[in-house]
């Protein structure tokens, strides 16, 4: 084990060395070749009729005058650095967002000849979602699953984090095990595991809990509960990153607080509720947001997101079942709206409890 660790360390050092070796020529090439050219271009750019630089004054188009101060220069370079992001945000996020909102109020189909054909239909798409016999139950199940599963994952990850934070042996091994699902969970693998019933608790299939639930409870609660129990392991798999978040939070707690408490006669149980939990409470909101997002973005076959895609790809004006781009956009927006509401509810509950204290 020690040898392995050594080899990892040497590997890391090697990667660093190789990175620097590649990086050095690039950086020196830039400073000697590229930046010289840029300087010349820059000179041409700052001495023309659009922008004229004279001393510390910049004149744009002859009438906008900007003083070159340190602050202004810093702002300029800062904007240059995030220009990539601004451009990408406008083109690949903000514009598509509003365009899909616009499409959700239209009946829209794509044809290769004419591009997108839209006809305004108001809230019809949204009404159709609420009338749909397929989608509405899916949304209900989604809500139920979220409301039960998110607290479950939070509690579970706090539990594991507290366990690992104890003075135990092989800390790295435990962290590695509990982080493993983040690395290997990909859609098709999970789908296959679900197919073969490998995602429920191993002993659950043998007991009659599932039958009992479906026979004795109403379908509105039994359905989410059943999906929850049959995909228990998958849900717990979402705890990979939350465990690390809580662990990082736990390691920040000053150990002298625990010592003082134990001198005053606090039991481990008391210490957990009075010290540990309050000090990691601010992290719970972050974790909740992370869990809601990562759970919602997982695409199940036949789930809401999958339906949205099928509506978009298969939809045609003469189709009775698939309603094209507008309907798909409406589904996605309702889904996003629900996601934000769920996050809002959880974060709201957490902040209420904090205020009472």
């Amino acid at each position: 084990m020690k040898k392995l660790k050594m080899s990892f360390a040497s590997l890391g050092a090697k990667i660093k060395k190789a990175f620097l070796k590649i990086w050095e020529p690039i950086a020196s090439f830039y400073t000697h070749k590229v930046s010289v050219v840029f300087e010349k271009i820059g000179y041409a750019l700052t001495h023309n009729f659009i922008i004229r630089k004279k001393g510390l004054r910049l004149t744009i188009l002859g009438f906008i005058k900007i003083k070159i101060t340190r602050k202004n220069r810093e702002a300029f370079f800062g904007l240059m650095f995030i220009l990539l992001w601004i451009f990408g945000f406008l083109v690949f996020t903000l514009y598509p967002m509003f365009y899909s909102l616009y499409l959700s109020f239209h009946e829209a189909y794509y044809s290769l000849q004419d591009g997108v054909i839209t006809t305004y239909i108001g809230f019809q798409n949204y009404l159709n979602i609420f009338r749909s016999q397929v989608l509405l139950p899916l949304f209900g199940t989604y809500l139920g699953k979220m409301i039960i599963a998110v607290p479950l994952v939070v509690v579970f990850s706090i539990m594991i984090a507290v366990l690992i934070n104890n003075p135990i042996k092989l800390k790295g091994l435990w962290r590695t095990i509990f982080f493993l699902p983040v690395v290997i969970s990909t859609g098709p693998v999970i789908a296959e595991l679900t197919n073969q019933d490998a995602t429920s608790l191993p002993s659950l299939q043998d007991s009659s809990v599932l039958i009992y639930i479906s026979e004795n409870l109403g379908p509105w609660i039994a359905n989410p509960l059943e999906t929850l129990l049959t995909s228990m392991l998958l849900i717990l798999w979402y705890a990979g990153i939350p465990i690390l978040i809580f662990l990082a939070g736990l390691q920040k707690i000053d150990s002298s607080i625990y010592e003082a408490a134990s001198i005053d006669g606090a039991s481990p149980w008391d210490r957990f509720w009075k010290i540990t939990l309050p000090s990691i409470q601010p992290l719970v909101a972050v974790v909740v947001i992370y869990i809601v997002v990562s759970m919602s973005l997982f695409v199940e076959a036949g789930g809401i997101l999958d339906m949205a895609r099928t509506h978009m790809l298969v939809g045609a004006p003469d189709s009775n079942f698939w309603h094209g781009y507008g309907y798909s956009a409406a589904i996605a927006w309702v889904y996003f709206f629900l996601m934000v509401i769920i996050m809002g509810i959880f974060v709201g509950i957490l902040s209420i409890r904090r205020k009472e204290k």
Binding site: G12, K16, L20, A27, Y30, T31, E74, A75, F77, G78, F81, I82, L84, W85, I86, G88, F89, V91, F92, T93, Y95, P96, M97, Y99, S100, L103, Y110, V116, L163, N166, I168, G172, W174, T176, I177, F178, F179, P181, V182, V183, I184, T186, G187, P188, V189, E192, Q196, I245, G249, K252, P268, V286, R309, M312, S328, A329, Y335, F336, M339, V340
Partner: protein, 310 residues
């Protein structure tokens, strides 16, 4: 004498079991290890299930008496799965594609993170909040319009449709990567930059010569995460790039490719779960190897996002 001994023994046993304040006692340790082992069993169950079932023969699959140890190790399952997934070649092509995108994402988020961390400009806070908010925006909301954007740009169904958003800081989970770099660059003292500036270095040169060499651990972490997440992404990749670019997408089409390769009725034409599981194992194997070598960086990642506050 004997009496004293038993008393002493009692105290010793009690101290051994419960410790000085229970937390360092033997019972507490046993409870903790039991809990950890059982939880990790729950966690590893699907992986173990995959591993074991991938070696099973058809008889073992049906036999309810065989659960954990197959009676014969069937390496033929893997041979078939390799054939179906076209393995050596598809690993290379997947790696090439994922490498391209994740390197692009890493470099662009380093630049953007540096811009947010080291400069002051108007609307910085708003933009930073928007940047973080993109994390919760499902790509399904924008996919409808993004398809049209990509079609207009002429990059639909090519790998550029994943590469271009990655370059512009809008890749999968890019907000997290930018946050990691932002947190790291904020910890570099500004004095370092200022002294370089006094010596006549431009901002670009400072970034290349000072900031990047210091940020190599962050680069490794972001690169590893983006590699894993782009590898595992199937919905958006299938939609924008199409076809079977990555190994998981090939796995998704496993059944149909198997049917074309081994038509039903021919010898070995029956697809059983063992072969499926072998395919799954082969799909996650490259990432498992990567994780095995680089798990330190994965596990350290959260400390570097600075979520916990300093």
């Amino acid at each position: 004498m004997k009496n004293f001994d038993s008393k002493h023994f009692k105290i010793k046993v009690r101290k051994f079991l419960f410790g000085m304040n229970f937390v360092d006692g033997f019972i507490y340790k046993i409870v903790i290890y039991t809990l950890l082992v059982s939880f990790s069993y729950i966690y590893l169950y699907p992986v173990l299930f995959m591993l074991v079932n991938s070696f099973m023969s058809v008889d073992d699959l049906i036999n309810p008496g065989v659960k954990w140890i197959p009676s014969v190790l069937q390496f033929g399952n893997y041979a078939k799965a390799i054939q179906v997934l076209k393995l050596p070649g598809s690993i290379v092509s997947t790696t090439a594609y994922v490498l391209k995108v994740s390197v692009a994402v890493t470099i662009s988020s380093a630049i953007i993170g540096y811009g947010f961390a080291k400069f002051n400009f108007p609307l910085k806070k708003t933009m930073f909040a928007l940047m973080l908010a993109t994390f919760i925006l499902p790509s399904q909301v924008t996919m409808v319009a993004n398809m049209l954007v990509f079609r207009n740009l002429g990059i639909m169904s090519t790998q550029n449709s994943m590469l271009l958003p990655a370059i512009f800081g809008q890749g999968i989970n890019a907000a997290i990567y930018i946050l990691i770099f932002y947190q790291f660059f904020k910890t570099i003292p500004g004095v370092l930059m200022e002294s370089a500036e006094v010596d006549g270095a431009s901002h670009v040169k400072i970034f290349l010569r000072i900031a990047i060499p210091l940020a190599i651990p962050s680069f490794i972490i972001v690169f590893l995460f983006s590699f894993v997440w782009y590898w595992n992404e199937t919905f958006i990749t299938a939609l924008y790039v199409g076809g079977q670019v990555t190994l998981p997408l090939k796995l998704q089409a496993f059944r149909s490719s198997y049917a074309t390769l081994f038509p039903p009725g021919s010898p070995g034409g029956e697809l059983n779960e063992a072969i499926m599981m072998a395919g799954n194992m082969l799909t996650i194997l490259p990432l498992l190897v990567l994780y095995f070598f680089a798990q330190r960086y994965f596990v350290e990642s959260i400390d570097r996002t600075g979520i916990t506050g300093e």
